[in-house]
């Protein structure tokens, strides 16, 4: 009763329900049963479910990627993961299931790579390669060869199990779509009530702000050079041009980070993140923005007097300050993006922020090893 009424977009919910139903039926048909299974019907149903779900996702969340390479890779890896997962579940031969699992892992690792997690990709492949080989060994060692057996050719409650599992997935996806309705950060970033709607601080910077900051960094580069202070005739820029450059920079910085404490311009970083001061990332960005604001004074106080007259100030000092400002602007520009040095930063985080957890995980591994040895060593009396 509520399924339709609850959704602001009834057809989408119906689509989701259809996908769930199709997937459940498909799995029911595909799962091994003593009376045999219907591979063709099952595959068709599963494919139909995948199509419906894909359409739904496309409709709800939009095109996966504007660049077709990224889109292709994402579709490839996600289809691979889901498809091989399906194979793993419905395959009656566990050895083949293990191979399907290996492909699931590979696809997942591809997704990791797309998510800028190269180290995770490598680690997962290495660890699961070992795990899968060991599993394979077990399958070969323990499985009865050939003929039908209880464990491979019977399933426990195939219909109810599939229904329960996919209903669960359906509910999660429905929740996702409901949440997504209320917040689409990219779209809502410009609107005034972005703060009210978004339960998450990310992204901390809008693309426009990022762009402005990158431009400002380039201009500051120019201001930091010797030629900026030199003879206009030699440098090829007039005093007027230099002043324009400076005021442009000042204006841009004021737009992004605000002029000074106390006057918070609506829509600036300050005003947007004010509600998320408890969030670590938001706090870091706010501090960075404050640093930029503080340093931007240098332009007005030290650089401007020297624009026409080099002797009016101390150019070396001013240049150093400008460079510092430029670094800060660049740092602010990169805030909210993953750092480039994945492995190094991951290691830093592990041993700085999560040291206790690392130790605990190590202890857990040790205990598990001992436990495994102890269990496998025990000679249980055969029944």
């Amino acid at each position: 009763m509520t399924l339709v009424a609850a959704s602001p977009n009834p057809p989408a919910a119906g689509q989701l329900a259809l996908a769930v139903l199709l997937a459940a039926v498909g799995f029911f048909l595909l799962l091994p049963k003593p009376r045999g299974r219907s591979v063709a019907g099952g595959t068709a149903a599963v494919l139909a479910a995948a199509a419906v779900l894909g359409a739904w996702a496309h409709q709800r969340f939009g095109e996966p990627a504007p660049d077709w390479v990224g889109k292709l890779l994402f579709i490839l890896f996600s289809t691979g993961a889901v498809g091989f997962g399906t194979v793993l579940v419905v395959q009656r031969n566990p050895a083949r299931g293990a191979i399907a699992f290996a492909f699931v892992i590979l696809s997942t690792c591809g997704l990791f790579l797309l998510l800028a997690a190269p180290f995770l990709m490598a680690a997962t492949i290495i660890i699961y390669a070992g795990a899968i080989i060991v599993t394979f060994l077990f399958v070969l060692m323990l499985s009865a060869a050939g003929g039908p057996s209880d464990e491979n050719d019977r399933t426990r409650e195939p219909l109810l199990g599939s229904l329960a599992g996919f209903a669960f997935v359906g509910l999660i996806l429905f929740t996702l779509s409901q949440t997504q309705d209320s917040v689409t950060p990219a779209a809502a970033a410009d609107s005034a009530d972005w703060k009210r709607l978004s339960p998450l601080p990310a992204p901390v910077l809008t693309p426009e702000e990022r762009h402005t900051l990158a431009e400002v960094a380039g201009k500051l580069d120019e201001v930091g050079r010797d030629s900026f202070y030199g003879d206009p005739a030699v440098a090829g820029t007039t005093r007027q041009e230099r002043m324009t450059l400076l005021t442009g920079i000042e204006q841009a910085l004021e737009d992004v980070v605000g002029k000074e404490q106390g006057t918070v311009r609506p829509g600036s970083i300050e005003s947007r993140l004010a509600g998320y001061r408890s969030d670590l990332q938001a706090r870091a960005v706010l501090e960075r923005a404050a640093a930029v604001r503080r340093l931007s004074d240098v332009l007005e106080k030290k650089v401007e007097p020297m624009v026409g007259d080099r002797a009016a100030g101390r150019p070396a000092e001013a240049q150093a300050e400008v460079r510092k400002l430029r670094d800060e602007v660049l740092l602010l520009h990169g805030a909210g993006d993953l750092p480039a040095r994945n492995v190094g930063n991951l290691g830093l985080l592990l041993y700085a922020d999560h040291l206790l957890a690392v130790e605990l995980a190590g202890t857990l591994l040790l205990v598990a090893t001992i436990g495994a040895v102890a269990i496998a060593h025990r000679k249980g009396a055969p029944r």
């Binding site: 579940v89 997942t108 998510l115 003929g147 491979n152 922020d353 598990a368």
Partner: protein
């Protein structure tokens, strides 16, 4: 751009497939692999959120998941080995002693399909008498 939502959808579906497999399949090794697949779904979630938030905490979490999964694999496979030694089967339904007193055990009623008969080995026609070894051959041995 690929939003976090797409990854969340993939992760949820992966998790769900794993769940279905865990609920229905009776081979303990397949069940274990399905559980690992559910973990992979969760790992994708974490990685996606790490990307979304622009920090590495999510990836660190995935590392811990991998570590725990390794522990799980060690223990689980050892347990399978022991259980197999005792029951000579990997069927998880053969372990149902922990039921309420007086409840009859659950047994499978449907019979399995008959094993197709092995194709018979070709019968060779009888050969001739085996020749007696010669003296030379005896010496050579």
């Amino acid at each position: 751009m690929i939003t976090v939502w797409h990854y969340l959808v993939v992760a949820a579906v992966l998790f769900g497939i794993g769940l279905v497999g865990f609920l229905t399949r009776r081979n303990m090794i397949t069940m274990f692999l399905c559980a690992e697949m559910m973990l992979q779904g969760v790992a994708i979630n974490f990685a996606a959120f790490a990307r979304y938030h622009g920090n590495l905490h999510g990836q660190v979490f995935v590392l811990f998941i991998v570590a725990v999964a390794a522990c799980e694999a060690g223990i689980a496979l050892a347990l399978f080995l022991m259980l197999y030694r005792r029951a000579k089967t990997l069927d998880v339904s053969s372990w149902q002693e922990l039921r309420e007193v007086g409840v009859p055990p659950t047994v499978d009623t449907e019979s399995l399909p008959p094993v197709p008969a092995e194709p018979a080995d070709p019968q060779l026609s009888p050969a001739g008498r085996k020749p007696a070894p010669t003296a030379e051959e005896t010496v050579r041995v």
